[in-house]
């Protein structure tokens, strides 16, 4: 009975909080509990969902264009972003890009970094999301049978992970693992997988922490690139 009463109490609190009826002190106390009580977060989210339905029939109204302009000016003061994908932005053709990436592998060898790039990568792939926020290079080191992965830019969203996949022909994607927090890593490649690198495609998807629970990509595919021979 008292457990039920507590549950009711929490439901009422979550509703009061969602409506904004609490005093600042009460709200602060409730928030402290929210951070550590999933059931309470669910109750709050459910109430927010229910109450938002009250906004459903409020007529839409197109805001004047100046609002959008002001928002963009506030958020992106560095002027209009360039359109187009990463490759075009740098004015590089695929060949030049491959050369650039190869050069990168050859020249980047910072002392103190545990993971070094392959001296003579056999295949490379250059993955970049459409907006260029995520940039990851990969190079296959045949000498050690490892795929060298270098995350140049971007990271997993908070509470999410980036997972690397190899797609060979018509076969379903094979997971090569979740990218670590370190920006460079080496992933061992079995001889069987190594055989399918030629003509293969690497992809990175957004997945729950620890990687896809199903063994296939479940989240958005953020970046894709073919493996090309150096």
């Amino acid at each position: 009975m008292s457990a039920d009463a507590d549950k009711d109490d929490d439901q009422a609190l979550a509703a009061e909080y969602a409506l904004g009826l609490m005093s600042a002190e009460e709200a602060a106390a409730f928030e402290a509990r929210l951070a550590s009580e999933p059931a309470l977060r669910t109750a709050y989210a459910q109430w927010a969902e229910n109450f938002a339905a009250m906004a459903e029939d409020i007529p839409e109204e197109t805001p004047p264009a100046r609002v959008r302009a002001k928002i963009k000016a506030q958020l992106f003061p560095d002027a209009e972003p360039q359109r187009g994908n990463w490759m075009r932005r740098f004015g590089l053709g695929a060949v030049a890009l491959a050369a650039l990436v190869a050069a990168l592998f050859l020249t980047v060898d910072l002392p103190g970094q545990g993971v070094s790039p392959p001296a003579n990568p056999v295949y490379i792939a250059d993955m970049a999301s459409d907006d260029g926020a995520l940039v990851v290079h990969a190079g296959y080191d045949a000498e050690t049978s490892e795929l060298y992965i270098k995350r140049e830019q971007g990271e997993a969203r908070s509470g999410r992970a980036l997972e690397l996949w190899l797609i060979a022909g018509e076969n379903p994607p094979v997971s090569l693992g979740v990218l670590p927090e370190d920006d460079a890593t080496r992933v061992p490649v079995t001889p069987e997988l190594a055989a399918s690198l030629e003509g293969g495609v690497l992809a990175i998807s957004d997945e729950p922490l620890g990687g896809s629970p199903t063994g296939a990509p479940t989240g958005d595919v953020l970046a894709v690139a073919p493996l090309s021979e150096v």
Binding site: S36, A45, Q46, N50, D57, P63, L222
Partner: protein, 181 residues
């Protein structure tokens, strides 16, 4: 635009994708401006608040997934809370609403279960609201769309704050019970 598409746009915003932000603005700004305008009544103020709302949406998009909200509810709640805050600032003195919807980072465990949002949500809510006594349903609506505090509501219905609180809590639990049927 369906839920999945909106979630993708929010996820891309979290990755810094400005084109996704443009698309999200195009898909939601009329809805949110309507809500903000309804709460604030004056266009100039509504425009300012809408700007604030989208800045928050962009900056907090990485928190979206942790909240367990559907994407429309997430943006609507940010807009509604910002508008109510502006209204309260205008009235002077009253407490600002909390921003847990965009700020809470759970320190343990999974996020809330994904909620099933179906069409006709409003019909369901209104059906359940109509089971409440009319003045209490009105009070719930006044709190949500006009930002009334317990003190405001107590004055409106000419009862003590404690009575108002007891009333409303009972009504909210009744509403909960109806909605979970």
């Amino acid at each position: 635009m369906d839920r999945k598409e909106l979630e993708t746009l929010i996820a891309k915003c979290a990755l810094g994708d400005r084109a996704a932000f443009d698309a999200l603005y195009a898909a939601t700004s009329s809805k949110l401006f309507g809500i903000v305008l309804r709460i604030l009544k004056t266009r100039a103020e509504a425009e300012e608040v809408l700007q604030e709302v989208y800045v928050k949406i962009w900056q907090k998009s990485d928190r979206y997934a942790a909240g367990g909200f559907s994407p429309m509810t997430w943006v609507i709640t940010i807009a509604r809370n910002a508008a109510i805050d502006a209204l309260r600032r205008r009235k002077g003195g009253a407490e600002a609403l909390s921003e847990t919807v965009i700020n809470t980072v759970p320190d343990a465990g999974p996020g809330p279960e994904v909620l099933a949002v179906q069409a006709g949500e409003r019909a369901r809510l209104m059906g359940c609201m109509s089971e409440l006594e009319p003045d209490r349903a009105e009070a719930v609506q006044a709190a949500y769309l006009e930002g009334d505090s317990y003190a405001d509501l107590a004055e409106r219905y000419d009862v003590s704050i404690n009575t108002m609180r007891t009333w409303l809590r009972r009504s909210l639990l009744k509403l909960r019970e109806c909605l979970s049927r």
